[in-house]
């Protein structure tokens, strides 16, 4: 079990060293990149949007209930909501959701290519299949996930604003005051650092799980589940490490 784990880490590192190579043809790389941005990024906007609005709403309600003290000014609810969404909910929760959606997609598409010998076909032609297939997927996420997370933060704040006001938990104007008060641009930057780290985790771990499948359709299914589980675990671990390193320093 333990040796398996370290063998896995070694194989993962070897695969990554094959992935980060100069593409054979840039034009083909860019085309693949655009396609992956559409598939892994643009196609995730819907779910990210819905989740973020509701997340913002729930965080506002919870915070309002916990801070319902006449001595605390109402705009504190908005400040607390803003910090929770920016620091934790948008980057981490949304990335976990993306690990499920995008990670399983990457693992199953690469796994299918492996078991149907499409990867062998690339290798026979002399294509570095690891770089050709995986690099665009990782780069697409490194570029696009930050956009998704900024969108998520914006929609989360909007959801909190609308629901807080509509339910009479905090007035619209207090929310706006709170959202703007003591705003720390560094926190947004921190959210983006986490997002980029998670994007790499999702892309690389899922690709590893899919690319190394042996067997048939059943194994592709297993790989896809493994991709999600391992990406999520790695994200949670990275979250702890990054929070300690960056915010606690």
């Amino acid at each position: 079990m333990i040796t398996n784990f370290f063998e896995g880490i070694g194989a993962y590192a070897m695969l990554m060293s094959k992935v980060f190579r100069r593409p054979d043809r840039w034009i083909i790389f860019y085309r693949a990149l655009l396609q992956e941005i559409r598939l892994l990024g643009l196609d995730s906007i819907g779910i990210v949007a819905i989740l973020s609005v509701f997340m913002g709403a729930v965080v506002t309600i919870q915070t309002a209930l916990n801070l319902s003290d006449p001595l605390i000014p109402a705009y504190y609810i908005a400040i607390a909501t803003r910090e929770s969404i920016t620091l934790e909910f948008s980057p981490t929760v949304i990335s976990l959701i993306l690990a499920g959606k995008v990670g399983s997609n990457i693992a199953s598409s690469l796994g299918t290519m492996r078991v149907s010998e499409q990867i062998d076909a690339l290798e026979v032609m002399g294509v570095n299949s690891a770089s050709f297939l995986i690099l665009p997927k990782i780069v697409a996420q490194l570029l696009f996930n930050p956009i998704l997370i900024i969108l998520s933060i914006a929609l989360g704040l909007w959801g909190g604003y609308m629901v807080g006001g509509a339910l009479g938990l905090i007035s619209f104007s207090d929310t706006l005051i709170g959202y703007r008060m003591e705003f720390m641009p560094f926190y947004t930057f921190y959210a983006l650092i986490k997002t980029v780290a998670y994007a790499f985790i999702i892309g690389s771990i899922s690709a590893y799980c899919g690319y190394t499948v042996k067997g048939g359709a059943v194994e592709v299914g297993v790989a896809s589940t493994n991709a999600v589980v391992r990406s999520c675990l790695a994200i949670i671990l990275a979250n702890y490490v990054l929070t300690d390193l960056i915010l606690n320093a």
Binding site: R25, A121, E123, V124, M125, G126
Partner: protein, 252 residues
């Protein structure tokens, strides 16, 4: 010319290839026959360099595969075409895009030259008009043709086919076999075909290598197979009633 000398390959404890020597005949269809599990696919993939042999060497002309530089190996790959057992077509790409793919990756042709080459190859395997279809939309026989077209699009010196007619009806199977034979002679390729099908052997086996349990047990031409007195060949070939009757008729 391709020569393999003393090839051994094992996976874990499973010794799959146990010392095989073969000289493949240039410009001809070389057939490797054996029952499933006898190691044909592993053998072919080892010759191609997808697996490294544990022992032995693979010679392309006077070069040894295992000793080539990375750059040389990459160039050699452009002289090889491979038709995988399941076709291994890129299912996100149209038929024409599949055939064009190696040209896009490796050739210095202009777009116009690529268009011409693709349409020439498609004509040659009789796929005219199917360029815009996707692999999932075409029949098994057509998938094999696309796979063959993709394999020959770079005008390779060597063509490898892993059970090219498995999963096809007998009529289509013969058409595919004959297509491989024609292309081999027309483009003067050295072709190596894995099969378990005696029909293919008799139809196109310029040179036949018989494999069993990781060994080469017999070698000869298609005309010699039916007369072979090798016990393993006899056991394999004359398993079916049909071939037993053929043998009886031959001996009369």
């Amino acid at each position: 010319m391709i020569q393999v000398k003393g090839i051994h390959k094992q996976f874990g404890d499973n010794q799959v290839l146990k010392g095989i020597d073969v000289d493949f005949i240039p410009g001809k269809t070389n057939l490797i026959i054996g029952r499933s599990g006898s190691g044909k696919t592993v053998f072919l993939k080892t010759i191609l360099g997808l697996y490294d042999p544990d022992q032995g060497s693979i010679h392309y002309g006077d070069e040894i595969l295992g000793q080539m530089t990375k750059e040389r190996r990459k160039l050699l790959r452009q002289e090889l075409g491979m038709v995988f057992q399941g076709g291994a077509l890129f299912d996100s790409m149209s038929v024409a895009a599949n055939i064009r793919f190696p040209l896009d990756m490796f050739s210095n042709m202009t777009e116009h030259q690529k268009d011409e080459r693709v349409s020439f190859v498609m004509d040659r395997v009789r796929l005219q008009g199917s360029g815009d279809m996707f692999p999932a939309e075409i029949s098994g026989g057509m998938q094999k043709r696309v796979s063959i077209a993709r394999a020959i699009s770079m005008n390779p010196k060597y063509l490898f086919c892993d059970e090219p007619n498995s999963g096809l009806d007998p009529e289509t199977a013969i058409v595919i076999d004959q297509l491989i034979q024609e292309l081999t002679h027309e483009f003067n390729m050295t072709t190596i075909v894995n099969t378990h099908d005696m029909n293919s052997v008799l139809e196109i086996g310029d040179h036949v290598v018989f494999m069993k349990d990781g060994y080469k047990v017999w070698e000869g031409t298609n005309n010699e197979v039916l007369g072979s007195t090798n016990a393993d060949v006899e056991e394999y070939v004359f398993k079916s009633k049909l071939f037993k009757q053929v043998r009886a008729a031959l001996r009369k």
